[in-house]
């Protein structure tokens, strides 16, 4: 056999067999193996080929035999080369598969790590959201309080504006009353002037009356003188008659004027007085009512605007409160039969009490000792 043929057989055998150790064989339960050499295998193949050729074609010439063997050998080599290539490809693919499986394992590990990181990030994110909600809630509370404060301030501002308006209206009313008072004062002044004129007129009349009296007296004296002369003439009688008439006329005139003037003046005074009284009363009551109303509004508005928690301590009446406890007929309890848990405070009150009494100026020793009922 040629050396080249022996190498080919060896490579084919290499390619188509599996390398295994003796230990592995023993592990599989194999204790004996059969060994064959490459040369022997070639001989066997040759023998098989010769027999196959002999059966198929009978006696062949040496040249034919050699040609057939060469041809078979070429074909065998070709097949074995192809087989070797295929094996090489298979080994390559197996290597590739192994590397890819390793890569897959690494990727799976990376995926697990990333999954854990993702879960952790999600937890942190949830915590941050909760904290943000807490802050948002606090902020909302603060904003709500700010809104309420702003609303209160706006109400106060509106109330103050209303108060201001009312104050201005009150001032206008007071101004109007002032003007009315001035007008009435002027009217009073006019009436006073009129009264003075009337008085002047009365004085003139009185003056005239006095003058008339003077004339009458003069006439009387003339009559008396004529009488004294002892002669009573027709003239004197006439004069006497005239004098009497004048006297009665004067008297009636006087009386009429006096009555008339008095009546007029009295009427005028009365009218003035009534008018003044009525106006004064009306003005006063109207002003007072208006002032009271305005002050009341101002007071209420001020209270509302500057409202602060004033302690409105209202004592409920005994009647109202006692009604709450009236329905005691159906009550029964065992409180009087039970013991109570008694404890002692950790701190005394004596120091505070003493100091309070010092501040208020009372003497501690003046307090008479009194027994305290047991609990």
């Amino acid at each position: 056999m040629k050396r080249e043929d022996r190498r080919n057989v060896a490579s084919v055998i290499e390619a188509n067999t599996e390398r295994i150790t003796l230990k592995e064989l023993a592990a599989k339960g194999k204790s004996h193996v059969r060994v064959i050499s490459g040369r022997k295998v070639m001989q066997l193949i040759q023998a098989v080929v010769d027999e196959a050729i002999a059966q198929q074609v009978g006696e062949v010439t040496k040249e034919d035999r050699e040609r057939i063997v060469q041809d078979a050998t070429r074909r065998f080599q070709h097949v074995s080369r192809m087989h070797a290539e295929t094996e090489a490809l298979v080994r390559q693919q197996k290597d590739l598969l192994g590397r890819q499986q390793t890569q897959i394992k690494q990727l799976e590990k990376t995926q697990a790590t990333l999954g854990k990181q993702l879960a952790q990030e999600r937890r942190l994110s949830a915590e941050r959201e909760k904290t943000a909600r807490l802050h948002a809630e606090t902020l909302e509370g603060a904003q709500s309080h700010l809104r309420e404060t702003g609303e209160r301030e706006r109400r106060m501002t509106r109330a103050i504006r209303k108060l201001d308006q009312r104050l201005q209206n009150s001032r206008l009313t007071i101004d109007n009353y002032d003007r009315e008072i001035d007008r009435l004062a002027g009217q009073v002044q006019e009436d006073v002037t009129l009264i003075e004129e009337l008085q002047e007129h009365v004085r003139e009349r009185e003056h005239e009356l006095q003058r008339m009296h003077g004339l009458m007296q003069a006439l009387n004296e003339e009559v008396a003188a004529a009488r004294a002369r002892g002669t009573e003439s027709e003239t004197v009688s006439e004069l006497r008659g005239e004098l009497g008439e004048m006297r009665s006329f004067l008297k009636s005139l006087e009386e009429r004027e006096r009555a008339g003037d008095t009546t007029a003046v009295e009427a005028l005074f009365e009218r003035l007085h009534q008018k003044q009284a009525a106006t004064k009363v009306e003005m006063e009551s109207s002003f007072q009512a208006r002032l009271d109303e305005t002050l009341d509004h101002i007071g209420k508005a001020l209270q509302a605007a500057t409202a602060k928690p004033i302690d409105r301590r209202v004592e409920a009446t005994d009647v109202v409160i006692s009604k709450l406890f009236d329905d005691e007929t159906d009550m029964e309890s065992n409180l009087q039969s039970l013991d109570l848990k008694v404890s002692t405070a950790k701190q005394s009150i004596l120091k505070s009490l003493e100091r309070l009494k010092e501040l208020r100026g009372s003497d501690l020793e003046e307090d008479p000792p009194e027994e305290v009922a047991g609990t």
Binding site: K308, V314, L324, F325, D330, A345, I349, L350
Partner: protein, 360 residues
Amino acid sequence: MPGDTSKVSFDQSGEEAVVPQPSRRKGDGTAPILGKGLDVGTANLLSGVQTRGGNPTVLSERNMFLEIPSEFRRNRQMLTKLNVPYVSYRDRLFVLGDSSFNLANMFGREVRRPMQDGFLSPDEQDAIPMLRFIVERLLGKPACPNEPVYFSVPAPSIDADNDTVYHQGVMEGLLKKLGYTPHPINEGHAVVYAELAEQDFTGIGVSCGGGMFNVCVAYKTIPAVTFSVSRGGDWIDQHVGKVMGIPRTRATDIKEAPGVNLTEPRNREEEAVVLYYRNLIEYVLKNLAQRFSLARDVPQFSAPIEIVVAGGTSLVGGFVDVFADELRRVEFPLKVSGVRRADDALTSVVRGCLIAAALD
């Protein structure tokens, strides 16, 4: 506990100093004092009476009741033997106080509360009779006819539409029915009486209750500014429960668990508790600052004043530190020398009432 100071002082240089608490004097055997104090709180009622020498005797009862099924009416003697206080009223049976809380769990029911947010509950029809019995249990019979009793009342709230007229009127009537002469005293003012003796009763008292916070600014015993906010421990529990998605009772447990410190929250729930505490304290301080700036008759304090906090809601660790921290952030119109918590924060209000009664 680290970080849980009971007092924070601000010296004039602006630096903080933790000052150790002054030692308390023992009672000097002063003659006994007539009069009683009554702290009318949303969650708890306390009564105080001064015995011969020593510290006041305090009785407390939860301010709640429970109507139990009518079939138990025949077993009233059993209730008495078990020391469970009951009231039979209009053919119904009610258990009062602490016992009602315990029984509620047994029957799987909720207790009923005569008071809500510091005032008599408008929705609770049986509130007044039940409250009367609880108060009677705490006060007992008067030591003498018309013995004075000073009871705490809240100030009207600045953030809710309420007033004290009905609440105060009913409490006065109730106490008169029991034979006492009632006198109301503002809750914050009671804290001033109990805790600011060394400062001549000048400073700010804050009562931190379950239903509300009551604030009183006093000058030489005279209350200058008083107000309340309708937020307290219950408000914190409610909001923490809401944002954390947990039941309210769980939020209460978190807040009251041992080791909780507002300056060192350990988890998200405690962080939420801290947030709401800070929000509430900031709210109170800002409103106090605003009331000061608007009020006309505010006294001028010549020296820095002290703030004292009391009440169950102030017992959480780190409360004083957080309060002092928020105070620094607010533009407060007054100079404050320091913030401290009352040594006996739970009985501060009732002791203040008792002091007022003893002065009567």
